[in-house]
Symmetry: C2
Subunit: 277 residues, 2 copies
Amino acid sequence: MLKASYLCARCLVDQATHALELAVEDPGERLSIMRGVVDLLHKDYPERIPAEIGTMVHRYVMERSGKDPYASLKMKSNEAALMITSRMRRENLTLRKVVLSAIAGNAIDFGVDGSRDALHSLEEQLQKGLAIDHFNRFEAEVGRAESILYLTDNCGEIAFDQLLVEYLVGHGKEVTVSPKQEPILNDATVQDLISLGFGRMEGIIPHARNAIGLMLSEASGEFMKVWDRADLVIAKGMGHFETLYGTDKNIAYLLKAKCIPVAKSLGVEQGDHVLTF
Amino acid sequence: MLKASYLCARCLVDQATHALELAVEDPGERLSIMRGVVDLLHKDYPERIPAEIGTMVHRYVMERSGKDPYASLKMKSNEAALMITSRMRRENLTLRKVVLSAIAGNAIDFGVDGSRDALHSLEEQLQKGLAIDHFNRFEAEVGRAESILYLTDNCGEIAFDQLLVEYLVGHGKEVTVSPKQEPILNDATVQDLISLGFGRMEGIIPHARNAIGLMLSEASGEFMKVWDRADLVIAKGMGHFETLYGTDKNIAYLLKAKCIPVAKSLGVEQGDHVLTF
């Protein structure tokens, strides 16, 4: 599990600032909510995992504002990603190609400054190789696995996840896809997946009401049954890496290392794409 | 006096991050100090003036690290600015020209993200006009004043202040220049002024041990005598505007509105140059 860095304080306050600007108009209300965000930081920073503090911060901004700040951006991300994936479906898609795309799709993230413009550079992201490349093991694990649990991350990105899930289902795997039940940041929800056509071939079981990454302590009994049964877990994004790395489970992490603390803990450069176990 | 905005939290944590990266190598020590910075924010945000919270933050980083993070950058700023002012001295300098230069010099600031590269754009800053232009009143006040108190802000900038102070002294004014006693951020200290040749024609009396802006409650008795006696106060930079605006004193504020909260409170755009009373 990832420990907080001195850099996480700035990132968390930056995330709260961005969410507030999307969800709240009144300057006084923004200030009052930011005061509460500082309280949350004071309570949990740096003891908890950054993704967990981020969860608390985004839940708080949504509760106080009564709004989902990212609803409209999420829709735009899906539309932009679908434009690309509908074109890709006409090509001959190998496992490696869909895996690389799923990792590139992780560039779409409104939680991290520098990744908010990723929609414009998606094509560029798709050309990028892997700084850590455990594809051979991944391919072997997929070959062996009967039951696969797929933990999704952001909207937009889920269009690329869909290609990978389709590939797995098409090769006879039993796949359960696990998003969030309700909105947090730009994470995909059950409803977001259904809108994209997930659920026709695979099961959807959310692992949390709303959370960045996966906190096993908050997961439902229904989810834990799938978790226990899965031969392979495919975990998308930094949040899952932050909260699950080191867990005694066969987990493939597919992510773009968007921040310096995560990049350092993986021994890669910020911005690198990673497939690791 | 300027009230804190929701944006100030991000800026204050950003300032602490920048100072830590300059002063401290060890990641664990950086994190521990950042934890203390969050404590300071929790204690005073948003009740106190942003410049006052910034003062607490920078004092704390210096105390914990035992270092002045900006020592080397301050020297570089002075050198870069002196290159320009030594060229300017050969020209025919009007009061308006030196005032505009002193305001443009305020662009040099390592406390505000976006102003840290100002050294490269100094020439550009010098071409910029005033979004609030009370020069006519300023000229009249200077004409009337016998005793002028000049509150300096950043290093680098002080080379341009020097041109204005020379002009005032050359026109028979009694000028006292007031920096900080000890380092904070990139603010000029007594020693920085002496190095540049201040003090040959005018008095130097610091107004605080170290502080962003001017907290009258912390000022020395010696300073307060000059303050009370001054017919005109020339206050450089956002910190003085934040801490003094609304004070019952004849104060000319010369500044670049580097952040959105200060720009909004002045009714100008971020980045605008201002001469106001």
